[in-house]
Amino acid sequence: MKSDTENLLSLVDVTVNFEGFLALNNLNLKIKRGELRAIIGPNGAGKTTFLDVITGKVKPTKGQVIFKEISLIGRKEHKIARLGVGRKFQSPRVFENLSVQENLELSVSSPKSPLHLLKKNIIKDQLEEVFQLMKVVNLTKKNDIKAGALSHGQKQWLEIAMLLGQKPDLMLVDEPVAGLTDEETDLTADLLKSLAGKNTVLIIDHDMDFIRRLDCKVTVLNQGAVLFEGNMDTIQNNQKVIDVYLGRPD
């Protein structure tokens, strides 16, 4: 394995076999540091499995996942998370019985050992950070409200804020704008775009307008493998992509 400093994440020949069904089939993919990357693909293309493999939820049958020059295969989810991989789920998953602030405190807190959490209250810097994050996602006024009482969009944003709180090197964002209003979608796109550069962001989505707004390199997955890579314009004109996914423009 040659050293690879340019790429933050690379997947080499990753195959996931569910009882004969190849969810990922020799997938090869590289993400550069600071890159904003969108991944699209039809249902069953293996997008979620792809995230599962990176975050350690699913162990690939074959292949390598290299992150910051470390292999992620066989590592536990929380270890991978601590290495700097953050994940936002498709439907917002926040701790519904905790308040907004408590949610964020959990994601910001570091180190994440039980003893540390027991010993003292959150340190000042981290508390500051929590308030900062609330400001970013516009939830400052709702800091005491239970996350379960938030609207769908607010939950999405809270989860993104929690993701940011973990200060990950790589952010995996699964359908961040599902169920959001147009206005919220735009704000989310801007937010994600502003994160790129500093962070590396990988977005999975169906919403073509949203992807277009992100204005980044797009990878098309199909049947567990990369079908095509390029920017939005080239993709929309690629015959293969049109055939399997976009459909013919009327």
């Binding site: 569910f18 009882e19 969810a23 499995t49 939820k57 699913v58």
Partner: protein
Amino acid sequence: MELLLDSIFNGIAIGSVLLVAALGLAIVFGLMGVINLAHGELMMLGAYTTYVTQLIFKLPILKPFYNWYVIISIFLAFIVSGVVGIILEKTIIRKLYGSPLETLLATWGVSLILQQFVRSVPLSYGSGLIISLLIGMVLPLFFPTKIKESIKFKYYKLASWSFATLIGILSAELISSLISKLGRASSRNVDVTAPAWMRGQIEILGNTFPKTRLMIIIITLISVIAIICFLNQSAWGIRIRAVTQNRQMCDCLGISTEKVDVITFGIGSGLAGVAGVAVSLLGSVGPNVGGNYIVGCFMVVVLGGVGNLLGTIFASFGIGIMTDLIGAGRLLNIWPNMPLSLSNTINFFATTSMARVMIFALIVIFLQFKPSGLFPQKGRMVES
């Protein structure tokens, strides 16, 4: 080799009891995700049904058919436990879908009540109650469609329930007047005696095998085959499996998921009743008869892997054979010259008491390597 064969025979004998007891549990747990701690008490109802049937068949009119009362009681036990199961589902369990821990606690409450019920209520009244419930539930199904759709249906229903109650009370009185043993509440254990043709032993492959055990194996076999056929061939079986896989989709397709739930739970409970018949042939029948089996059943289901009948079958025979191997200290016979320390250890566990300790410990260790049991459910939906 001969010793091993002997062990396998014994293991099958022990395992078949476990299997028949665990079958209903495995179905309810596997298909509905419901942990039914009252399963043992449903077995108990089945066992009491056998007892009542036996006494009824001792009446002069039915005496000629006495030899066949066990066969009849299998069907009756299925119905009795099934009816109680359906009532349970409709009143309590339905409210708790999706929260298995709560179901577990509620069914424990049910098991306490059922246990005390058979202690404090005379069996004749218990039978009367079951009869009236059965009639009350079944009768409205036979009403012509015209009545079913009319606004006055509830009055008809009321009428049919009153009729059912009347029949129930009458039959309770009838039973207690005919058989005085059933007319009195008693916490005393009662006993089922197998008819003469089911007692004694037969020889298979040079091994003697008790006939009652063979009968239980046959009951188990028939139940397993019937269940597999039902789930795979019948329309309702296919619906049940469909609901297990995707409830919302089934709702959309017009399958009454409520009805499916009732039927699944009813069948699981009915099988508990059948298990009760089997158990009653081996030991005495009392309020605790089912409770003695329940933890063993859970072990079978956990070891076998949820939602997999094959796993249940393997697990029960596996536990059965292990029980015999460890409990009877057979390894010592198979391997006579083992080191002293090892043979001491084996002797330590070669009592029925310690064998149980050993087997549960082995299961826990086994689950360290295969947390989802022998035959885990596969696919990406499992963890979510």
